[in-house]
Assembly symmetry: none
Homo-oligomer: 290 residues x 2
DNA sequence: CGTCGACTGAAAATTTCTTTTCATGACAGT
DNA sequence: ACTGTCATGAAAAGAAATTTTCAGTCGACG
């Protein structure tokens, strides 16, 4: 008996000829709004089709399924296939790498993380944060932990080009008070804090709040304790087939934010970038003769 | 009690704070591959999440549903809404974001980059580099440019935990000669250099080669001039719908390498990580009384 | 008109799912 | 160390769902 690889819909169609009146009626009902109509219990779909539950059992067995649960399991798989996204379909580029190669396992995990993060992520939050970061009246402060420090630096480097008043906090927490001292109400503190959350982040966030700063946190799905103090928090999936967590998706969000901010203030940014180009050029000229 | 008009996913998120450990575990399981994961019976999803069925009941009631069947009915409605909408059918994870939202455009681009990079990438190269970096007799030197400095730092931070003899070169090129002075034959210089290639990288690579160092370059598809001097080069796709290039896929390769190296020397690495834990603990103890 | 065979659903039997109850263990505060 | 609170799952109880049994109905055909 082989039901595999054919959709339930196909199977129903190919059996339409041998179905009895009540069974046809049921089949119609199932194909109408397929496959969602088959999601409920046997009782429900029998009622919807106006037939008895034994009819349902008889039909699905006639179709080659072991019983109603078996039938429904197949349907669930199809729903899953329908819903799950293009990201999952990475078969093509996997050709060069044998299935168990670490690159593939990593790619699988990253795709999953990305999909999951995007599903969970509220675009309104994203847009709000982008707007906040675009506001040049607000100073920006970036801080990261031992691992996430590099992400904070990456974000900072770009924002520094795009707009003025951006500061990267040293990863050494003993110098943080001095930064907090300079914060004004409305300034924004962007915190990167993923698991093995750093205790000091909470203190920093608390101090910054007292100065009237807004807080944006990049954390993982479990949530840094600092996220509780944040106006906005990005919960990013960080799981990887590794002893380490993955920062890939976090970097993805950061890059998207960079683009969003840059885009919303393009005219000003363009001027800044031109000026920057000039400065680089000058530096190069200084050096070359030497 | 009003659950209407909010998705089950929303409801779960808004309750994440008040969920207990087992419930969070369950919530994770449900949100993972949402909403398909919630299609089965209470027994099934409890098993998938690794919790007991009473936990499921308690959680859905905490979320405001009358019981599991009520919860599942809502989920079914959402699946129906998702599937019967042809746009959503195409792109489930984009559901939260209108088609032109920057997050989506970015995700598309990144996926393309990743696929293309993996297609081009020779796994033999990857494995060779991983083996090279795993060799503890070789010193490692990391260097990046203005933008890629953060990637170099990220790579360095991890490798520093995994193995000894790792060095991060300052991004200030004037101090590079001192580092080169310390390089021995067989040492490895890992260079990050993507477009707007930095002139000094070639000089650095040349000098390092003279000292007998091997060179590994992370660059873009067009290739840094330093790549010509390299034993191995990773050509990563960096295109993004942005004025900036994307480092996401580069970070992906870096993370995969970290795992590969860690994996090949796990016994030793484990010891190092334990020791490191101890050191962190001590630091914490030093601080606490203060 | 009668008989046969097949279809159908009511109802019983069975299985599975859902909910409740309760004992255990972890943990915070005293 | 003690105590109370809470989270958790094992197990029992209760509720549905699923399957089976079986009798009634209908149409085909002699």
């Amino acid at each position: 008996m082989t039901v595999a690889s054919k959709t339930v819909s196909d199977v129903i169609h190919s059996h339409l000829g041998v179905l009895t009146r009540a069974e046809k009626q049921l089949a119609e009902s199932l194909l109408d709004n397929y496959p969602v109509s088959g999601l409920g219990s046997i009782t429900t779909i029998a009622e919807n089709a106006g037939v008895s539950t034994p009819t349902v059992v008889r039909m699905v067995q006639k179709l080659g399924f072991k019983g109603y649960p078996d039938f429904q399991a197949h349907l669930h798989l199809e729903v899953e296939a329908t819903i799950s996204n293009p990201i999952a379909k990475h078969d093509r580029w996997a050709q060069n790498a044998p299935g168990t190669h670490i690159l593939n396992r990593f790619a699988d995990a990253i795709m999953g993380n990305l999909r999951q993060t995007l599903t969970d992520l509220d675009t309104a939050t994203f847009d709000s944060v982008a707007a906040l970061l675009s506001d040049r009246k607000r100073g920006l402060y970036f801080v990261g932990g031992r691992i996430t420090g590099a992400l904070a630096e990456y974000f900072f480097t770009h924002m520094q080009v795009i707009r003025p008043a951006t500061t990267l906090l040293s990863s050494n927490s003993s110098s943080w008070p001095q930064y907090v001292l300079n914060m004004n109400a409305g300034d924004i503190l962007i915190i990167f804090d993923i698991r093995r959350y750093e205790q000091e982040m909470v203190s920093l966030a608390t101090a910054a709040r007292k100065r009237g700063a807004e807080i944006v946190v990049f954390t993982d799905q479990w949530g840094s304790p600092a996220a509780k103090l944040a106006r906005y928090a990005f919960r990013v999936r960080i799981e990887a087939p590794s002893a380490w967590d993955s920062s890939v998706v976090t970097l993805f969000i950061v890059e998207a934010l960079i683009e969003a901010v840059q885009n919303s203030t393009w005219d000003e940014t363009k001027e800044r970038m031109k000026t920057l180009e000039g400065l680089f050029e000058q530096t190069r000229l200084f050096r070359k003769p030497g």
